[in-house]
Amino acid sequence: MAKTKGIVTGIVSNLVTVQVDGPVAENELCYISLDGTPLMAEVIKVSGKNASVQVFESTRGLKNGDTVEFEGKMLEITLGPGLLKGVYDGLQNDLTSMKGVFLKRGEYTDPLDREKLWDFKPIAKPGDKVIAADWLGEVMEGWLPHKIMVPFSFKGEYTVKSIVAEGQYNVDKQIAVLTNSDGEDVPVTMTQKWPVKVAVKAYKEKPRPDKIMETGVRVIDSFNPIAEGGTGFIPGPFGCGKTVLQHAIAKQGEADVIVMAACGERANEVVEIFTEFPELIDPHTGRHLMERTTIICNTSNMPVAAREASVYTAMTICEYYRAMGLRCLLLADSTSRWAQALREMSNRMEELPGADAFPVDLSAIISNFYARAGMVILNNGQRGAVTFIGTVSPAGGNLKEPVTESTKKAARCFYALEQNRADQKRYPAVNPIDSYSKYLEYPEIAEYLNKTVEDGWVDKITTAKNIIRRGRDASEQINILGDDGVPMSYHVTFWKSELIDFCFLQQDGFDPIDSLCPIERQKYMLLLILDICDKDFDFEDYEKCRDYFKNMINLIKQMNYSEFQSESFVSYQNQLQKLLEENGK
């Protein structure tokens, strides 16, 4: 079928109007020819013979009358072995293979190495009945078994006609022939394509998450845990440590595959990942972190429309690995920039705006995206998961703005970063009271925690949160009435909450030991601290109370800095015990 063609009839920044001579589809891809250089664009609105397209590149020099060719397909990415360790832009161009220091317009690079040979092992055999996402074979990508699957786009049941023997092949090698119900033969290679804006649904079912994903960050794992296959978001004003917290989760998250989408953020932050990750070791497997990481990088100065595409590209890669029975973690920094990209386009199309000039369907778009995460049961009964954590950069640090509010409706965990805590250098600056995890309300998660961590664990967390709350009230009273104007019990209540804050909630993200706290150790420390909070204390004056608790805080912090149960850890704990014998009852 002949491709639909068109000519440019209007240009405002990266929004271009094209008069078309045939059928076009919403979100269809097209190329605009700028003196022979093809510029990729996507249809976002059609009205009569006119299609509005957003161009993924700068439109400088484009003219009315320039020709356009429509591709008959949506923006899609290539899926296959070799995506891990990759560094791509929002359209999945390989940034590492581009020549020159500056990005060139219209330079599109192949995301996969077509030459590399992979050790292929067949899983299916001729005669097997298969459907989309069923495993045909596997290759080892680093230490991960990478399944070669029946492409997600295949509809209905197929019969495996032939499959190649074990051996070394490149990704373009035809590894199997499948026969569909009409008797037609379809060849399959190690790669497939998938349109990024469509969710991959080739799995049996998507049950509720039933276990947590450890991050090694105490204020998350213990206070407001995120489920494997769950969703969460981190809003916070600039300078509150959003990126540091996300990097910590990326380094330590208990997942097989991590995809980081640097969406409209600072380029130097991505450079930090390039520089540090290859040196760092994954604490769960002992392998290099980079081996399980894919970076999608569309920094703030790169074209806005590709920024919007970047989060979808990242999600599609996660869904692909999920279908192999792997646990994936998607981190997007920041989803506000994605929303702003939507706003810029909606603005140029002169749509009636919603709140703060964002498009009216912002909330629906965000919900749809978050809904693509989740734990799934594959066709063969195995589990796979995509856990998604996005950051939000609220304008002016005010959480009552459209992106934060829309995300709050979609995400199940909320980690509010607080300016006040950041100013006091209480990192991670997650507000322990306002933040929440809906997963704690799931009976299956509560049961999981009570079984795997400690009997009654969920109640213990509630107790700790209540101590923080009471401490906050006491602190307000002390501020109003003065140190001498309140009974001693107020000071003790306040300092108990400070004890939890300093020794448990705060965590040194730059310390090699403290930054990663496994749940076993979190349990040990929280029980120890709650035990202290359970005691009654008596002091002559508030300064003695302060000094006593400061001593305790210092000792427990030293424990946090020591190897768990090491000699120095035990020695600090003994000192703490001695201190407690002096006063606590």
């Binding site: 009839t9 209007g10 240009i11 405002v12 920044s13 109007t17 700068s58 439109t59 400088r60 020099g61 484009l62 003219k63 009315n64 009358g65 560094v87 940034l95 590492t96 581009m98 020159g100 220091v101 500056f102 990005l103 060139k104 317009r105 600039f238 300078g239 409209g264 600072r266 380029a267 130097n268 991505v270 450079v271 930090e272 390039f274 520089t275 990088c297 920094t299 703030s300 100065n301 790169m302 806005v304 920039r337 702003q340 706003r343 810029e344 603005n347 140029r348 002169e350 705006p353 703060d356 000039a357 964002f358 304008a395 002016g396 640090g397 005010n398 100013d423 003065g482 140190d483 730059f510």
Partner: protein, 440 residues
Amino acid sequence: MANKAYQRVYTQLEAITKATVSLKAKGVSNDELAVVHGKLAQVVRTKGDMVTLQVFSGTEGIPTNAEVQFLGAPPTLKVSDQLAGRFFDAYGHPIDGGPEVEGEERQIGGPSVNPYKRRQPSELIPTGIAGIDLNNTLVSGQKIPFFADPDQPYNQVMADVALRADVDKIILGGMGLSNDDYLFFRHSFESAGALEKIISFVNTTEEPPVERLLIPDMALTAAEYFAADKNEKVLVLLTDMTLYADALSIVSNRMDQIPSKDSMPGSLYSDLAKIYEKAVQLPTGGSITIIAVTTLNDGDITHAIPDNTGYITEGQLYLRADPDSGKVIIDPFRSLSRLKQLVQNKKTREDHSQVMNTGVRLYADAQNAKTKLENGFDLSDYDHRCLAYAKEYATRLLSIDVNIKIDEMLDTAWELFGKYFTKAETGIKEALAQKYWKEQ
């Protein structure tokens, strides 16, 4: 700007606003320049035959039968070593009476650096100002603004920083500079004898606001020439970015775009990021560092301009008048250099980060003591010592008129710790205290 063999002249304007004109024209390319009634303009929208042009110097006096001529190319700058030591207007024309610059003609606002090709910034930029070097160390390849109220001496501080920084070129992009400030910069550069490494692009308040939109791209195109082609260390000064953003809002308003927060265009974040992200450490050794000024409205950082800036830049430096010491200081609480840990204790002495943290923490204790005093509570002995320390700390270290080496800043801090506190009160790491503590 290349002249086409055949240039059609249009003489019929269909619409005129304060910043834009529209006319029917064919074969016009996006971002292309045109001359409207002798004034420079740029294509910002085409729709069918209708072309909308943004007229940089305003549309006053343009009649509907004005002559319009399209130039076939976006704004360009001729780059070569001849740029050094010169002063230009927003269009890149000399304003210092010297000859036009010869060189390669480059389009301004060019492509971005491939993030994968960047290097991690790692070189310290010393400024002599302790509020910066000690507490908020700058690194080459960084982008950082001064957040200051209009009454603060931000331009002076910036000129000081520029002249003391160890860089190969300093490029000033002045947007809406008062004529006095322009002459101030010119005078300081001349009297420092550093003219040959300085290039200035200046738009003063006497000139039309929309012209300002060209300034950052002009300055950064020159910067990219020296950093990428010549592998030089380039420092770009942009003042005042608030006036730049105001010019953006004027244009988008005239084009009937729907404003977002604080009547700024919805694309403000991307527009500012395109400028600031030009800061880079290149693999070949060249670098572009950007120090900007964002003036605040009565210290309000939640306004869209400083807010978006804060999300883009690698920190911010706050100027504040300190009533206790009577000095203008770099506020140690609200200022932040996000890249400082890349050089502290690595390119500076081993005690740097500890001294910095301790100094600021004790200064915070002094603020608490002050609050106590204001609320009428009794002060302890420790509170009194904190207050005395704070005054001396502000005068000898935070004040913007300090100009000393980093080691001297560290020694001064140790001296103050020893003068007012015990080792235990500072909580400084024992090993460092043993080496540097100054008992008094």
